[in-house]
C-alpha cells in the first residue's frame, strides 16, 4: 500500500463517517419528539455534512484525479464507502439514534483531539475546526443518554436495549488495520488502540450516570471502514442520497 493510497483511504473513512451518519440524522427532520430536538438534530446533521465537505474535499486533492467532494460522495458505490458500520445503522427510535450518536461522538472526540497534532497540517486544521462542533455534539448526546437512561422505567429499558444493539459496532472504531497502521506510522493519525482507554473512561462515566450496563462482550462486527462488507442498510442510503446525480448525470445543481 503506497502512502497516498492509505492517506486517501483514511480521509474517506473520516468523511464517509460524517456523511453517512449526517444522512441518517437528517432523516429525522420534522419528526423529532420535541421542537428543540428537531433543531438540535438538524444542527448536528448540518455540522457533519460540513465536516464531510472538508474531509472528502481533501481526499479528492490527495487522490489527484480531479474528483470533488461531491463526486466522491455521490458517485461511488457501496463497496467504495469507508464509513464504520455504526454510522449506517438505522435510526430506530429516538433513544437508539442518540445512543448511536453518543458512541460515535465519544470516539470522534478522542480521534479529533489526537488529529489536531497530525503531521499533516491540513488534517490538523480540519480536526481543529471540527472538534469545536463535536465537543458540543458529545455533550448533548451524553446528556440525552443520561436523561433517558435515568428517566422512567420505560426510557431506561429502551436505552439499555439500544446500547445492547449497538455495542457490537463499537469495536470496529478501535481495531487497527493496514491503513490505520500506516497512518499511525506516518504520524498522520493516532494509534487507535491507544484511544480506547480514554474512550472507555468517558463512556463508562456517562453510562454509569445513565444507570446503564455495558454489555459483557467484546465481540465486534467488522467490514465497514475497510469496505469489505457493509450492512444491507448502506445501499438503501445511497439509493436516496445519490439518486439525482445518478438519474441526471452531468447536470449542475
Amino acid at each position: 500500500m503506497t502512502d497516498t493510497t492509505a492517506y486517501f483511504e483514511f480521509l474517506c473513512r473520516m468523511g464517509d463517517n460524517t456523511l453517512v451518519l449526517g444522512h441518517r440524522v437528517s432523516e429525522w427532520c420534522g419528526h423529532a419528539p420535541i421542537l428543540e430536538e428537531d433543531i438540535a438534530l438538524a444542527n448536528t446533521a448540518l455540522d457533519m455534512i460540513g465536516q464531510t465537505q472538508m474531509w472528502l474535499g481533501l481526499a479528492g486533492e490527495v487522490e489527484g484525479e480531479g474528483r470533488s467532494a461531491d463526486d466522491i460522495a455521490m458517485l461511488r458505490d457501496a463497496w467504495d464507502f469507508r464509513n464504520c458500520l455504526l454510522c449506517e445503522q438505522p435510526n430506530g427510535d429516538f433513544g437508539q439514534t442518540m445512543m448511536r450518536q453518543f458512541l460515535f461522538d465519544a470516539w470522534h472526540l478522542a480521534m479529533l483531539t489526537e488529529l489536531q497534532n497530525s503531521s499533516e497540517q491540513r488534517v490538523a486544521e480540519i480536526a481543529a475546526k471540527a472538534i469545536k462542533e463535536v465537543q458540543y455534539h458529545v455533550e448533548r448526546s451524553g446528556d440525552t443518554v443520561i436523561a433517558l437512561g435515568d428517566g422512567t422505567a420505560q426510557s431506561h429499558e429502551r436505552m439499555q436495549k439500544a446500547l445492547n444493539l449497538l455495542w457490537p459496532y463499537v469495536g470496529e472504531l478501535f481495531t487497527p488495520d493496514a491503513v490505520d497502521t500506516a497512518m499511525a506510522e506516518a504520524g498522520i493519525a493516532p494509534d487507535l488502540t491507544k484511544l480506547r482507554v480514554g474512550f472507555d473512561t468517558h463512556i463508562g462515566q456517562v453510562l454509569s450516570e445513565a444507570t446503564l450496563a455495558i454489555p459483557d462482550s467484546n465481540f465486534a462486527h467488522q467490514g465497514g471502514k475497510s469496505g469489505f462488507q457493509h450492512s444491507e442498510h448502506l445501499g438503501h442510503i445511497l439509493t436516496q442520497m445519490q439518486w439525482l446525480q445518478r438519474a441526471y448525470p452531468g447536470a449542475s445543481w
Binding site: 432523516e27 419528526h31 420535541i34 455534512i49 433517558l148 439525482l244 449542475s252
Partner: protein
Amino acid sequence: MYAQMVKSESTDESAEAIAFQARIDAGEKIEPKDWMPAGYRKTLIRQMGQHAHSEIVGQLPEGNWITRAPTLERKAILLAKVQDEAGHGLYLYCGAETLGVTRDELTEMLLDGRMKYSSIFNYPTLTWADMGAVGWLVDGAAIMNQVPLQRTSYGPYARAMVRICKEESFHQRQGYDIMMKMANGTPAQKKMAQDALNRLWFPSLMMFGPSDAESTHSEQSMKWKIKMNTNDELRQKFVDQTVPQAEYLGLTVPDKTLKWNDEKGGYDFAEPNWDEFFEVLKGNGPCNTERLAARNKAWDDGKWVRDGMMAHAEKRKIRKVAAE
C-alpha cells in the same frame, strides 16, 4: 402568509378598550403585561399559533428532499433552512405563550385539527425544483406578509418578525438560486423548474387568503394592527414582484390571462380556484392526511422521550435538595 382566515374577535366599547385603541393608533407597542381586550388576545393567539404551526408543518415538505439533495452544499443549505424554520416555530410559540397559552396546548390543538396551518404545506414536493420553487414562491409570499408584521402592535410578535424576516430573505434567495440553476440547466432540469412553477403558482397565490370582499375577519384585525395590509394588496404586490423574476428565469407563469395593466401599474391575473382552497382548509388537500399523521406520529412516538426527560429532571431536583 402563514396565517389565513384567522377569525377575529370583536372589541367592546369600555373605557379601557377605547384607551387601548388610542395606544395602538399612536403607534405604541402592546407588551404582555399590559391590559388588552380579550378579543385582541384571542385573535393574536390564533394568528401566532397558526403561524407557528405553519413553520412546524412546513418542515415536512422540505425535509422530504434533505436526504435526496443533489450536492453536499445543497444538503447543508436545506438543512440550515429547515432548522431555521423550526427555530421560527419556537420563537412564535414563545411569543404566543406570553399571551397565556402553553406550547403544549397549542400543539394539541394542531394535532387534533382545532387549529390550522397554512394551506400551502398540504401540497406535495415532487422534484428537486420544488425546493427552489418553495423558497422562491412560498417564502417570497410569506415575506410579503411578514415584513409589515415587523410593525405589528404586539411587541413580542413584532420582535420575533424582525429576526424571522432576516432569515426568510436568505431562504427566498437560496430558492431563487436553485431555480436559476435549474432554468439554465439541462432540458430535464428546465422541465422540472417549469413543472414546479405550474403546480405551485396558484397555491402560492392562495397563501394570502380569499379576496378582502369575502374576508370577514380583516377589518378588526387591521384596526388592532395585527393585520397590516389587505389580502388583495399583498397578493398584487407578490404577483408584481414575481412575474419579472419568472421572465428572467425564462419560465412561463401558468396564467393565460396574465397581463400588465398600465392604468393600475400592476398585473392583471387570474384568481386561484377558491373552491380548491376551501377544500384544502377542510382537510382535503393532496397531503393534509400525511402531514397531520406525521406530526401526530412524531408527538406520540416522542412521548416516552419527553416523559423520560421530565422524570430525570425531577430526580435531579430531588437529589439537589437532598444534597443541600
